[in-house]
């Protein structure tokens, strides 16, 4: 069983910021972006609106190449949108900021460092009040949390892909970011490893306060991890559909085989097909079940 509540142990350093819950910790307002390529302007995002409350977990799904990775770069401040605004924690994002943690599909590890030193890397960049001892304790705590206890002094090449992805997750979290951005972190893993990592994510989420945006291709992953799933349209991407995943308490893999989950997956699958232009936007009444009460459709054609 997964314990989603508050664990008693919180690691050596726990975050103090916990006043009222911020409504829109991440606020993406009408963002448009285009790349300049040899063939001219390539519009990628076309008026995107997404907001995530503090502690929220939003999964973004959409057809391949629709602009999901671009979205993560805009949130992280690695790029500036052509139009529209990205706000984090009430401040407009114009450049990268240290309150963000990122992990990618490719869990890039610095081969010349041990796993522990890899995880500690962000602490060398971000001005931190932690002493070296505390930094190391924090890294060790996270590694243990994701099940990598005992591998601290190994080289990345000695770890499996799944283990490296776990370490990459620790690195994204080590400096206690407000915002965690995950770009298909489990995409390259086999199904069993992926499901293990989903459960690890729930573990971590129970102990670490962060607001998460997860890019994924896996619909089961999206409803298992997130409390809201955003479906993007074909490039240039707009928000096509938003599905609220009802909070049913602690989740385990069995939840993916309930009728409710099947229904949500059906809706999402249909929305992806619409996005890909393979299905009409208005389904025939008997083909797709009614959306569950929490879900809302936005910007439907």
């Amino acid at each position: 069983m997964i314990e989603s509540g508050h664990g008693s142990s919180r690691g050596p350093v726990s975050s103090q910021r916990r006043g009222g819950r911020v409504d829109k910790l991440i606020d993406i307002k009408n963002v448009r972006h285009a790349y300049q390529t040899q063939d001219g302007r390539l519009p990628v995002l076309d008026g995107l609106d997404i907001s995530v409350p503090e502690g929220g977990f939003v999964a973004v799904v959409g057809p391949s190449g629709c602009g999901k990775s671009t979205l993560t770069k805009l949130i992280a401040g690695l790029m500036k949108p052509d139009e529209g605004e990205v706000w984090l924690h009430g401040k407009r994002v114009t450049s990268p900021r240290s309150t963000v943690g990122m992990a990618f599909q490719n869990p890039v590890m610095l081969e010349w460092r041990t796993i522990l030193k890899n995880v500690m890397l962000p602490l060398e960049i971000v001005a931190s009040k932690m002493s070296r001892r505390e930094q190391e304790e924090r890294a060790r705590y996270l590694l243990a949390l994701v099940g990598l206890e005992g591998f601290e002094d190994k080289r990345p090449s000695e770890l499996s892909g799944g283990m490296r992805q776990r370490a990459s997750l620790c690195r994204a979290l080590v400096h206690q970011p407000d915002v965690l951005i995950l770009d298909e972190p489990f995409g390259a893993l086999d199904a069993f490893t992926r499901e293990d990592l989903w459960q690890t994510m729930h573990q971590v989420k129970a102990k670490e306060p962060f607001t998460c945006v997860l890019i994924t291709h896996d619909l089961r992953e999206s409803i298992f991890l997130a409390d809201q799933v955003v479906v993007l349209s074909q490039r240039p991407a707009r928000t096509q559909y938003v599905l609220d995943v009802p909070d049913t308490g602690p989740r385990d893999l069995d939840h993916l085989y309930t009728p409710e989950a099947a229904e949500m997956l059906n809706i999402l699958r249909h929305q992806i097909e619409v996005a890909q232009g393979r299905a009409p936007a208005q389904p025939e009444a008997d083909e797709v079940p009614e959306p569950p009460p929490g879900s809302t459709a936005q910007g439907m054609v």
């Binding site: 664990g7 401040g77 010349w112 962000p122 099940g147 206890e149 293990d196 690890t200």
Partner: protein, 281 residues
């Protein structure tokens, strides 16, 4: 701490088997790594000696290993002085090549425009056989032996370094950069923490080539320059005096120096880029 029933517990013990750090010197000296190459050298010398004896070659055709000890005994102090000169000029030339090569490599690695602009120039420069440049340089700065020799050693060896550094830097995956960039790290930080260490294996690969090239450059100049210095000049004087055992003795000394230089680079590589070595399993 919550029990994590579904998190796979590591199957393999993460603790290393206790390293037998007290492996004795004696067992190292009798290990295959030492014995095999030594045996090869001995066999080689024996075959060489036999070849000369069987054919009855006089020492002006081919010196034999047994001619060498007398040659070394006669010119011992010269060998030390000349060997040192050859060594330091090669090393200075190489150090310059590393500095300039890394700088050019950085410029080309970070800027696509500079890479496109400089690459053909570099390739063209590298295509010129350096043996033809040696007499020109020797004439241009007549008498400046040290300068000439270092210059040639440098010119001949900076190219592989520049190319390897530029390729290493320009092929850095964007994710590597983004890990640090998303935290607001500066370009300099990214260079020191990621780009530079990531390039080290390529750099040392090139340095192994460069050290051999620099050594060739030094010797070319020493042989060609009139009244030169270094082992090359000693070789040249052996030629002038038809002292074949001396010439062969110089060859062996050069080989020895070359091996030393090469293994110094290998040792540096082990220290600074040993992580790139994968265990062959």
């Amino acid at each position: 701490m919550t029990p994590m029933a579904y998190v796979p517990t590591p199957l393999t013990s993460a603790k290393d088997a206790a390293a037998p750090h007290a492996r004795s010197v004696a067992s190292f000296l009798t290990s295959r790594a030492v014995v095999a190459p030594l045996a090869a050298v001995v066999v080689f010398l024996v075959l060489w000696e036999l070849l000369v004896r069987v054919n009855g070659w006089p020492d002006y055709v081919m010196a034999s290993p047994s001619d060498l000890p007398p040659a070394y005994a006669d010119y011992w102090s010269l060998f030390l002085v000349m060997g040192w000169q050859t060594l330091w000029r090669t090393v200075v030339g190489l150090v310059l090549a590393v500095i300039v090569g890394v700088l050019i490599g950085m410029v080309m690695g970070f800027s696509r425009v500079m890479r496109e602009a400089l690459y053909p120039l570099l390739v063209g420069f590298n295509a010129i056989p350096k043996a033809t440049v040696v007499p020109i340089v020797a004439l241009m700065f007549v008498g400046a032996h040290d300068f000439n020799t270092v210059l040639i050693a440098f010119m001949i060896s900076f190219f592989p370094i520049a190319v390897s550094v530029s390729i290493g830097l320009s092929t850095l995956e964007p994710e590597y950069r983004d890990i640090l960039r998303s935290l607001g790290a500066s370009q300099t930080t990214i260079f020191w923490k990621i780009a530079l260490p990531k390039t080290l294996p390529e750099f040392f690969g090139a340095l192994k080539v460069a050290v051999t090239l620099a050594f060739i450059g030094t010797n070319l100049m020493e042989i060609v320059s009139p009244h030169g210095r270094g082992l090359g000049a000693l070789f040249d004087s052996g030629k002038t005096n038809s002292d074949y055992p001396l010439m062969f003795a110089v060859l062996i000394a050069l080989a020895f120096l070359g091996i030393v230089l090469y293994y110094v680079v290998v040792a540096l590589e082990k220290i600074f880029a040993g992580w790139a070595e994968r265990s062959p399993t």
